[in-house]
Amino acid sequence: MNSRYVVLAAEGHSPVIPQTAEIIVGLIAFSILFILLRKFAVPKFEAAYQARTEAIQGGMEKAEKAQREAEAALANYKAQLAEARGEAQKLRDEARAEGAAIIEQMRNTAQDEANRITASARAAIEAERQQALNSLTQEVGTIATNLASKIVGEALDDQARQSRVVERFLADLEAGKK
């Protein structure tokens, strides 16, 4: 605060009137500072700013590239998966078709077999029936011959005898059948 008491009283200078010396000092000081900052500070700051911007941009480009790659890989995987799925589907369809064909084939074979068995059975029955018919025809001839000889041997005089003979014959027939 010494200044307060060491005033240049003689001057009595008004504060709004600039002092020429101070203007000149201000101009020179500002010029020196301007030249120094323009030469040594601002270009460096700008360079750092530029470098940082580029570094950030470079980083972003890298990230973008990585993302693009990841997306490509994902698409690739998806395509492969779809392909695999399609293949599996195809295999399943084929197997199903094959299975159906096998079942169909087996069913046909079984049907044929059944038909064959039925046919042979029918033929056997027919043969047996034919045999029975043949033997029956033979037997009926013999029986008829027997009956006729008996009738002739017994001398058919009365009714009673006659019917007895017939009954006996029938009984014989019954017994012979068994």
Partner: protein
Amino acid sequence: MSVLLEGAEGGFTPPSSADFEFAPIWGNSILATKPVLMVGLSVIIVATFFIISARKAAIVPSRIQFLGEGIYGFVRKSLGEEVIGPEFHRFMPFLFTVFTFILTNNWFGFIPFLQFPTMSHIGFPLSITIFTYLVYHYTAVKHQGFIPYMKHVLFMPGVPKPVYVILTPIEFATYFIVRPLTLTMRLFANMFAGHLLLLVFILGGEHLIMSGALLKVFGVGSFAMSIVLSFFEFGVQALQAYIFTLLTSLYIAGSVADEH
């Protein structure tokens, strides 16, 4: 001390513009006065700080580089790019010098022992204003040509002819007288008034403490107030540096723009 006591006995002399005048520290030259030396000191401080902080310009900055770049980035973005637009690059050294030079000299008012805002000597704001004045006129003449620029300033397009009677003198005064005058006065007057206000509280407090017992209490209060106001002034000093640079930037933006 005896002088102070004498002053106290003889009644309080309020601080005046005389408190802003300094005798040369040595010799007889005005170049050896406190404000002139402080301006020189500000050049050394600002240049040293920013040259050191910019020296490496690494992508991952050191602490000092981070601070220097932070200040530069603030001027670059909010005072350069956003005001002037895409052509701001070539004005950056100038705007940066204006801002740091004024800010440092203003903050000298806050720094202990210096405690004097250099810009409260009108010669210094005036010298910076002279540069601003030259830069924005020169830019306009270079960008638009001398005659179109004068025509643009004096006969603003899209205005009815009779209006020019009033508008032309106003525009002329604005561009050539009012702008430099207000730039200088605003900075000077803010710093001058701020410093004077602090002097009132500090010298007043000093006087009160030297006086009667009860008045000592007010003296202490007055000192406390001066501390609060110092911080307030700290903000004002920064704000004035910002405003000066912002207006410089706006004038340059007007010179660079094709339309008004």
